[in-house]
Symmetry: C2
Subunit: 73 residues, 2 copies
């Protein structure tokens, strides 16, 4: 949806979690059923994931969506 001017953006710690778990981007992409390009885009903040993908990533890392994706920065 259109970003609203003046609202803080969503950041994430996908890269950090991935590295802590010793995974490549390809590993994670396969685990959550998206392409590597999508993981790159998310890690670099090019766009936010769909809610569905957010669920899958949270489930994979066994944590909450709002622990991975957060407001700020």
């Amino acid at each position: 949806m259109p970003r609203i001017e003046g609202t803080p953006s969503i950041s994430n710690c996908i890269q950090k979690l991935r590295q802590i778990n010793g995974l490549t981007q390809e590993d994670l992409a396969k685990a959550v059923q998206v392409t590597r390009a999508t993981i790159i885009a998310l890690e670099k903040g090019n766009y936010n994931p769909s809610l569905e993908l957010a669920f899958r990533i949270a489930k994979f890392f066994k944590t909450d969506i709002q622990k991975i994706f957060y407001i700020g920065d």
Copy 2:
């Protein structure tokens, strides 16, 4: 993103929360800065919200994204 065959879909209790709080769809739409059409679509499960909108809805209802949106049904 493309729905993956065989995966459960995301449901939500937006309508319930809205009614508990005595709000019209228009009220909620304005509160979270989307059109009424978007609220209708979400309540009827036509599509899932963006992560950003999920954040705004959760914030408005003072709860967590995963309390409003959940897997199943």
